[in-house]
Assembly symmetry: C2
Homo-oligomer: 152 residues x 2
């Protein structure tokens, strides 16, 4: 019974995630990819944060350019969290990502949605609008990191 | 707390100076950024290569999606080759990049142009067109690597 349940779970996992995980030859490739995507996204998100927090003057054009890159990058990392990519490289991803797939997807979907809103807000060219959207997006980063990223 | 840390990072990331090199607080940040951008680009370019070289079946939709990401990513790394970013991290970038700026820019502009053509070719949905554009793009990668990337 236990074995059958295991097989059923394994079969479901494989079915759900085979296309995504098959895109990477090795777990370390997937880990490197998702870290790279987060790193590029973080750089551009940081530039928006600098404006939102008045560390640098607000430049609507620059904000819009950076936000567009953030929104595009935000779509990428998730396909690289396939089965078996919890180990095999230097990763801070917690095992719960693979045992709470639905919840993790909820977090990632929310983040993608917020970055899309951020990009739209940045295009509006208003600093207060940008600030609000930056705060909302940062909150989704934090929520997911708190839940699924091991502390340094 | 993570949000605060994020804001703090953003504050140090960007200085008031406008030049591209000033977008990175430290040379190692620029090096990490450009390597991350190249890594993400390379992953998606490799997927097109797998189709162009018949290692996986041609899927026009998947090719177009990957080519679009390649074209977007291709624009990013160059701003991270600013003055002073030749050292400060684990980089294979040759010193000639900084002594032959015009030539390096020529190579990078060519690569951006070829990836734009690649994306258009992928959208056409024809494998032979994709193969030709993939070959032309790969040649620009190789030419620049041969000139400006130290061998492993």
């Amino acid at each position: 019974m236990k074995t059958l349940a295991c097989i059923a779970v394994a079969a479901t996992l494989v079915t759900l995630a085979a296309p995504a995980s098959a895109q990477f030859a090795k777990p370390e490739d997937a880990i490197k990819y998702r870290q790279s995507a987060f790193s590029v996204m973080g750089t551009h998100f940081g530039r928006i944060g600098a404006m939102a927090n008045a560390r640098v003057p607000f430049d609507a054009k620059v904000a819009a350019e950076n936000a567009e890159i953030v929104a595009e990058m935000a779509k990428l990392p998730w396909a690289a969290f396939g089965p078996g990519t919890d180990k095999g490289g230097n990763t801070r991803a917690k095992p719960e990502i693979w045992t709470e797939q639905a919840k993790f997807k909820e977090y990632s979907d929310k983040m993608v949605a917020e970055t899309t809103k951020l990009s739209a807000a940045a295009k509006a060219g208003n600093l207060d609008t940008l600030k609000a959207a930056f705060g909302a997006t940062a909150a989704t980063c934090k929520a997911c990191h708190d839940a699924y990223q091991a502390k340094l």
